[in-house]
């Protein structure tokens, strides 16, 4: 179980004295990911989803809030003491090309973390070799052919599998996959997504999936939770299929409306929401963060900021004063 409460992060922009202003990447985010569970952070670039993922993986610091890993709060610990906890959370980077050292073979890449582990637990070299073969088999690669290869001899999909195998060498409790399929060829993406789902089921690893492509979030498991993040705030949160089928926040609706419709296979949603072009970003936000682009804003939205919570008749949590279901998602033609 990994939980976060009120995670806040501000990036100070240095260098440009005149135009420099602080960027609030995260404004008090709560999350909870159960053991073996799945969660997806979705939102546009710059919304803070990647920063949050990196904070959860221990690769970035945060200004305020509390992260607990397996019930242990991190704030009371020294950096050295935190490390073994954060090692349980492994990051899968977006770019499988830069995530592997081009000068090292797959064998060498896997041996380094395994050697560390063998030293800690007093295991033999033989165990290391067995374990390397085991993790490669788990990600669907043939150890015999892959071990001696350099990264450039592997396709994008295979590299991403090696990256996942490397993460598995430390027996992680959670994988944080940041846009893990966006650089993989279209015909192979589902394979990686299916692998993540499979690892959840077989090893009980939880998966945190970070993406701008909402559709991919469904494929790591339909029991997952979806967090829609806008400018550092979670604006809607609920079970994947509920949020996709019945979004209530206008921002979620805009995101879903923007997804291309496969004409010929699908019919477009009936009430697409198109956000207004944001005109002035320099003004401080007093009310709802989405108010300036929201086609449904009212006076209240401009003066007061809604917080994430539940209202009647809506199964998911949302941060909107005027939640309303709209049919924005395309439907398959076969269902009509």
């Amino acid at each position: 179980m990994i939980t976060g409460n009120g995670i806040t992060k501000t990036f100070r922009q240095r260098g440009n004295v005149l135009a420099g202003r602080d960027v609030q990447a995260l404004r008090g985010v709560d999350f909870a990911i159960a053991k073996g569970g799945a969660a997806s952070f979705i939102g546009e670039s710059g919304c803070g989803k990647t920063t949050l993922g990196r904070i959860i993986a221990g690769l970035e610091t945060y200004d305020a809030g509390e992260i607990s890993i397996g019930g242990t709060p991190m704030s009371g610990l020294k950096p050295k003491q935190r490390q073994p906890h954060f090692r349980k959370i492994q990051m899968i980077h977006q770019d499988p090309y830069s995530a592997l050292n081009p000068t090292r073979t797959v064998h060498q890449t896997l041996q380094a973390p395994l050697a560390l582990r063998a030293k800690q637990t007093g295991r033999s070299r033989q165990w290391m070799d067995e374990r390397a073969a085991e993790v490669l088999a788990l990600v669907g690669l043939d150890p015999g052919t892959v071990l001696s290869r350099y990264p450039h001899q592997l396709s994008g999909g295979m590299r991403q599998r090696v990256v996942i195998a490397r993460a598995l060498t430390v027996d992680p409790e959670m994988l944080v996959a940041d846009e893990a399929v966006s650089m993989i060829d279209v015909s192979l993406r589902l394979g990686i997504l299916a692998l993540l789902k499979d690892l959840r089921e077989r090893l009980g690893v939880s998966v945190l999936f970070i993406t701008h492509d909402v559709a991919t979030a469904r494929y790591i498991g339909d029991d997952g939770e979806l967090y829609v993040i806008y400018r550092g705030q979670v604006v809607e949160r609920g079970p994947v299929d509920t949020v996709i089928a019945d979004p209530v926040h206008p921002y979620t609706q805009s995101l879903l409306s923007a997804i291309p419709v496969l004409h010929g296979l699908e019919l477009p949603g009936e009430q697409p929401v198109v956000p207004l072009e944001s005109l002035d970003e320099s003004q401080p936000d007093t009310g709802c963060l989405f108010a300036r682009r929201c086609p449904f804003r009212t006076e209240r939205c401009e003066g007061e900021r809604p917080v994430l919570g539940r209202t009647e008749c809506v199964p998911q949590e949302h941060a909107c004063f005027h939640p309303e279901r709209r049919s924005v998602v395309a439907r398959p033609m076969s269902e009509v």
Binding site: S155, L188, R189, V214, Y219, L256, P260, L262, H263
Partner: protein, 332 residues
Amino acid sequence: MPHPASSQAPGVRIDGLTVVYKTPAGELPAVRDVSLTLEPGTITGIVGESGSGKSTLALSLLNAVQPPGRIAAGSVEIDGLGDVVGLSGERLRKARGAHIGYVFQAAQNSLNPLKTVGKQLLDLGRSHGVDDLRGLVREARELLGRMGLDGARVLDSHQHELSGGMRQRVGIMLALVLNAHVVVLDEPTTALDMITQANILKIVREVHAERGLTTLVITHDIGVVAEVADRLAVMYGGRLVEQGPTREVLGAPRHPYTRGLIQAIPRLVGDIDEARALPGRPPTLATVPTAGCVFRERCALRMDVCETDDPAAVAHGTRIVACHAVKVREHA
């Protein structure tokens, strides 16, 4: 409207185009025997994965394939311009921009970071011998305004002051400002956010209609093509394996690759378990088979003939498909 659609959109006919790259292993074809007609006033989308040859095909339209690549065979006829493959030197340079506009990948920084957009516009005008530079700037401002930007402000900006979506709009402006009527967009929305992507695609559609263009969109994302294109062409391993009206191809794909590709797209609705990845991996220049069907390694319908004979592109009604299996089933 400053440009009545009366200016007839030109047609483009690519015929038997083969582009080869020189490698240590000899000359290998990146594009092999591709024939494709862009009807005047239509948007055609080319979909392919990495190594499919789609970008090389797009560059061939401008006869801009860089060494070690070269156009080995075939022609690219553009109405009012002739065979682009035969052009060279000054005439080719003038044709780029004036006849054919090219919008580079959104992810690439195709703008000069040291110059304002306006300066680059003037450079473009001068290099094409435009006398009325004021008119050019006015035209550019109108185009940017049409795309929802503050033209004067954008022309005064440097690249780093523009967001990804704004840069892409500037790219479209630069491609159209010299009044080109054939436009090639290479991965127009890669690395853009969903909402920005939807905006850009809407602009592409509208500008295409208003100015009477013939447009070619190159992408790896079927969704992008589905949104904008009238016709869809699917490339694999340097071959055009299937083409036809977008809706028909998406609704009833014929070629096993097209079918597999559509099935492999993560979808917002429908049964998760229906979707599955294609086995194997896309070929690279070095691994693409030189004889027989390029897709056979990953194909479920593979037959003996696929090993030896490269299937010819055969028209089936509105559809052109290059597959032995498709033929067999129809004869049977």
